[in-house]
């Protein structure tokens, strides 16, 4: 059984307008997303800005209300059973935020930030708590002496490590990483990513990795889902997506990955132009009248593509 199983998740936001703030329409931020993640693996959610990948992650952890659909965690529906079950699930599902600057309270010392989940769920003495926080900080590669410092005394990468230490404090099973490195500079990105892989092995973590950077996704993930306008266009293992892309949107996305070899520059440009031409030509076939993707259909045991068809 998969650790996390999402069935037809929809998150719609009302657009309020008019004199009395009535709902005059909806934004379908997430519109029918299904995915499942196995224990210990990493699932990458890719898509352009506004494609609904972040909203999907936030809906799983309960920061956005779910309009319809089911989120099953370890076989239990997170929507049922009210606040209690959500609170218990919070222990096992944690989140790493995109912006390491706004995700740490500037008025709190590191010890208070990292110990916040421990104080909510575990009854520890002050001594034990301090020891645990020191351990966690060492685990994420920060010196244990930093516990009395404030967030602004750290660099972006160090702050993100504090965020990770906070997320792993309760030994969760699933971590939703919402673009955890996109606010960091490239040299620090690799550091944080490798470190995330290390603790994944160490703690047998499962990641839902949200990013728009295909290079990072390829480096990190076993399975990939590509989103466009709130829907999946293609889903499969990393090699399915990178070696056998079927949907024109995926092909175009992959063509946009920069190649660092300058001798290939002209070839790359032509390739990209060819993909763009194909995309423009086939756009009407691959998307419906509203510009949305069709439903996913399996083309192999692991690979699903939103191919055009009457069943859509």
């Amino acid at each position: 059984m998969a650790l996390l199983d999402i069935k037809d998740l929809k998150v719609h936001f009302p657009i309020r307008g008019g004199l009395f703030g009535r709902a005059v329409g909806e934004v379908k931020a997430v519109d029918g997303v299904s995915l499942s993640i196995e224990q210990g693996s990493t699932y990458g959610l890719v898509g352009e800005s506004g494609s609904g990948k972040t909203t999907t992650g936030r809906a799983i952890i309960g920061l956005n209300a779910i309009t319809s659909g089911r989120v099953m965690f370890e076989g239990k529906d997170l929507n049922e059973g009210g606040k209690r079950s959500l609170l218990n699930a919070r222990r096992d599902v944690q989140m790493i935020f995109q912006d390491p600057y706004s995700s740490l309270n500037p008025k709190k010392r590191v010890i208070d930030i990292v110990a916040e989940p421990l104080r909510n769920f575990e009854r520890l003495s002050a001594q034990e708590e301090k020891r645990r926080v020191r351990e966690l900080l060492e685990q994420v590669g920060l010196s244990a002496e930093t516990i009395y410092k404030y967030p602004h005394e750290f660099s972006g990468g160090q702050r993100q490590r504090i965020g990770i230490a906070r997320a792993i404090a309760l030994k969760p099973k699933l971590i939703i990483a919402d673009e955890p490195v996109s606010a960091l500079d490239v040299s620090v990105q690799a550091q944080v990513l490798n470190f995330m892989q290390d603790i994944q092995k160490e703690l047998n973590l499962t990641y839902l990795f949200i990013s728009h950077d295909l290079g990072i996704i390829r480096h990190m993930c076993d399975h990939i889902g590509i989103m466009y306008k709130g829907r999946h266009v293609e889903q499969g293992t990393t090699s399915d997506i990178f070696h056998n892309p079927q949907h024109i949107y995926t092909k175009r996305l992959l063509a946009a990955i920069p190649d660092i070899d300058p001798t290939e520059r002209e070839k790359q440009r032509q390739f990209r132009a060819a993909v763009k031409a194909e995309y423009d030509q086939a756009y009407r076939d691959y998307f419906d009248e509203e510009g949305l993707a069709y439903s996913l259909r399996p083309i192999s045991s692991t690979h699903l593509v939103a191919l055009p068809g009457k069943g859509g």
Partner: protein, 296 residues
């Protein structure tokens, strides 16, 4: 020992240290701060040994005495010692200012936090409530209350003032809380299992502390002014409970205004200097909350 010192130096300055440094750097604010401290210690200290009953007792044999060794600031039309009235009046005015500021602060912070943190319909309900209080003709209602309540003390007078003065700070806190709650650390606290109340008071409130300190300080000056104004108009304290306002209101008698300066001048000057000093300190605090404006 030296290790301890470097560890101390590594730590960034705390909010209190920044505020203190800002006040010390600004000569005017520092002088005002010292002056305020002196006045408060002096007034509350001396009023402990003064006997209010004896001071406000009418003495027909010493009407309108100019300043002398016996009466340092002379006497008023009832033969009452102006110096004693000044000390007790300043104490009463300061007490009311402080009590009203604290009470409006507490109510304003509670309502502002609730409405800013939850937003949406909670915010709507609270803000309509605030709007209702805002459109009331405050001064008139306070006057009506004061006339209706037959015997009032510092506490009941403060309560009346508080009832109509909490809206400004509630609005301010609400707007700041609305901004702050969108930041990721509030969301992060939710995912870490903290309750709404816990987030409001342990995560959100500390980030609003600087603005709270600044507004409360500036409100203190305004509240003292308001109390003096009401007493001057005759709707504050009766003469048996002197305040800065009652002393100034003796100047409504033209003869007193013209030839008996010792009755009203000291109180007037004290009001002016007190308000200026509090405002100076408040401005320094305001600068301390914004790194770009700091002098220190």
């Amino acid at each position: 020992m030296s290790k301890l010192a470097t560890a101390e130096a590594d730590r960034s300055p705390s909010g209190w240290k920044i505020i203190w440094r800002e006040i010390v750097r600004d000569k005017v604010a520092f002088a005002s701060f010292l002056f305020l401290g002196l006045i408060i210690v002096f007034v509350y200290g001396i009023s402990l040994v003064l006997d209010q009953k004896q001071i406000v007792t009418v003495d027909l044999f010493s009407l309108y005495k100019p300043p002398s060794a016996e009466f340092w600031l002379g006497t008023d039309y009832g033969g009452r010692d102006v110096f004693g009235q000044l000390i007790i009046g300043t104490r009463n005015s300061l007490s009311i200012g402080i009590i009203v500021t604290l009470m409006t602060g507490i109510i304003g912070i509670l309502i502002g936090l609730l409405s800013g943190y939850f937003g949406g319909s909670v915010d709507n309900v609270f803000m309509r409530f605030v709007d209702f209080f805002m459109i009331l003709p405050t001064l008139m209602i306070v006057i009506a209350f004061v006339t209706a309540v037959p015997k009032y003390s510092i506490i009941s007078f403060s309560l009346i003032m508080t009832a109509f003065l909490w809206m400004g700070i509630a609005r301010l806190i609400r707007s700041k809380a609305l901004q702050e709650r969108e930041l990721d650390y509030i969301q992060a606290s939710r995912t870490l299992g903290s309750s709404h109340l816990k987030i409001m008071f342990t995560q959100l409130l500390p980030n609003l502390s600087s603005i709270i300190i600044v507004t409360m300080t500036l409100n203190l000056a305004a509240n003292i002014g308001l109390e003096s104004g009401l007493s001057f108009l005759g709707f504050g304290f009766p003469e048996s409970t002197p305040s800065l306002g009652t002393l100034v209101s003796y100047a409504r008698n033209p003869q007193t205004l013209e030839s008996r300066w010792w009755i009203w001048l000291p109180a007037s000057v004290l009001i002016l200097v007190l308000m200026l000093s509090i405002n100076n300190v408040g401005q320094a605090l305001k600068r301390a909350t914004d790194a770009r404006q700091r002098k220190g």
